[in-house]
C-alpha cells in the first residue's frame, strides 16, 4: 500500500506537475524536497512508501541521493523522473537500485501505470 510519497526535485514547477498527475482520491500524504540531500534527510525522517527523484539537482544530485537512500534502506522504491534520458543515465540509476525511470514531461497515464506496478510490488513483498 502506498501512503507516504516523497517528491525530490529542485524545480517547484516540476513538483507541482508531478503532484497533479497523481490521483487525488487515494489519500496520499505528500512530502517534498528541493535537492538530493534534503531528499535523503526527509527519507530518513518519514520513511516514504514511494519516492520520486529528479537527477539534475544542486547540492546533491539524484544519482548520489539514490545511492544514499538505497544504502540506508535497500527496499526503498524510487522512481526516477528526469529529463536526462541518455542510456547511460538510465543504466546508472537502475544499477543503483532505482525501481524505474519516467521521462519528463510526465504524462498522467505513465504515472498511473507506474503506481499500479509499485502497488503490485509492495503487495507481493
Amino acid at each position: 500500500m502506498i501512503r507516504k510519497i516523497l517528491i525530490v526535485d529542485d524545480s517547484p514547477i516540476a513538483r507541482k506537475m508531478l503532484k497533479s498527475c497523481l490521483p487525488k482520491d487515494e489519500g496520499y500524504e505528500f512530502h517534498e524536497a528541493g535537492d538530493g540531500r534534503e531528499g535523503f534527510e526527509k527519507y530518513k525522517d518519514i520513511a516514504p512508501d514511494l519516492t520520486f527523484m529528479d537527477l539534475t539537482m544542486p547540492v546533491m544530485t539524484g544519482y548520489e541521493a539514490i545511492e544514499a537512500i538505497i544504502s540506508h534502506d535497500r527496499n526503498a522504491v524510487i522512481i526516477v523522473v528526469t529529463a536526462d534520458v541518455q542510456m547511460k543515465a538510465i543504466k546508472t540509476v537502475m544499477e543503483s537500485g532505482a525501481y524505474m525511470v519516467l521521462k519528463k514531461p510526465l504524462k498522467r497515464e505513465d504515472i498511473q501505470s507506474a503506481l499500479l506496478k509499485v502497488k503490485d510490488t509492495l503487495q507481493k513483498a
Binding site: S11, K16, M17, T56, A83, V85, Q86, M87, K104
Partner: protein, 212 residues
C-alpha cells in the same frame, strides 16, 4: 543593475523546467550519435539589458583559453539566437569521438575543415533538438538559419560587442554541460528578445494549465 520584471517568478520557473526537458532531449540525441554521456546541469534564466550581454558571456567563458562557437538563429513565435560555446580543444576531441563514424573521404580532409564540420554537426544536433523540443512544448514551430561556426578564437574575437541592438531587453536561457570524456565542456545560450514575451507568457500559461 536591476532586472526588468517581464516574466513572473512562476513563469521563469516554468521556462526553466521546459529548458531542462529540452536540453535533456538534445543530450540524449547527441549520445545516440557519439559515444559519450553529457553531464547536465540545472538551467538558468536571466533577464538583462542587451548591452550587458557581452560582459555576461565573458564572465562565463573567461576560464577558457580559446572558445569555439556554433550559432544558429531561429524564428517562429519564439525567436532569437542560439549560441553553443565550447571549451578550448573541443573540436579535436569531438573528431576523436566521431572517428568510428567517419568515411575515408572525411578523414582525408584537412584538420581545420574536419573540426569546423564536426562542431557544426554536434552544434546542429544540440541546438536543433533543444529548440525543437522547447518549441514543441510551447506549441510553436520554428525555422533555423544554417549554423555558423567560429573555431578556436579568443573571446574578444569570437563575440563582437555590437551584434545585438543595445537598447533592448534580452531573456537568456543558459545551460552548462560537460562530456564524460575528452574534457569537452561549454554552455548553450538561447537569447530571445522582449518581442517574444507576450506570446511566451500565454504559451507558458497554456503549458502549465495541463497540470492544474
Amino acid at each position: 543593475m536591476q532586472e526588468e520584471i517581464i516574466l513572473s517568478d512562476e513563469e521563469i520557473a516554468i521556462l526553466q523546467e521546459i529548458m531542462n526537458i529540452s536540453f535533456g532531449k538534445s543530450a540524449a540525441d547527441l549520445a545516440d550519435v557519439i559515444d559519450t554521456h553529457v553531464v547536465l546541469s540545472v538551467p538558468f534564466i536571466k533577464i538583462m539589458q542587451v548591452h550587458d550581454l557581452p560582459t555576461y558571456f565573458k564572465d562565463h567563458v573567461k576560464e577558457y583559453k580559446t572558445i569555439s562557437i556554433v550559432e544558429q538563429k531561429f524564428w517562429g513565435r519564439f525567436k532569437g539566437d542560439a549560441l553553443l560555446v565550447f571549451s578550448s580543444g573541443a573540436g579535436k576531441e569531438l573528431i576523436k569521438m566521431l572517428q568510428h563514424e567517419t568515411s575515408p573521404g572525411f578523414e582525408s580532409d584537412p584538420i581545420d575543415i574536419l573540426e569546423r564540420e564536426t562542431l557544426m554537426e554536434v552544434g546542429n544536433i544540440l541546438i536543433g533538438a533543444c529548440i525543437g523540443k522547447l518549441a514543441e512544448l510551447l506549441k510553436d514551430v520554428v525555422t533555423y538559419t544554417p549554423p555558423m561556426v567560429v573555431v578556436e578564437r579568443n573571446y574578444s574575437d569570437a563575440i563582437t560587442e555590437n551584434r545585438y541592438d543595445p537598447s533592448s531587453t534580452a531573456i537568456v536561457l543558459k545551460t552548462d554541460f560537460c562530456f564524460d570524456k575528452g574534457g569537452v565542456s561549454g554552455f548553450l545560450f538561447l537569447i530571445t528578445s522582449k518581442d517574444s514575451v507576450t506570446w511566451m507568457k500565454e504559451a507558458l500559461r497554456l503549458f502549465i494549465e495541463q497540470y492544474e
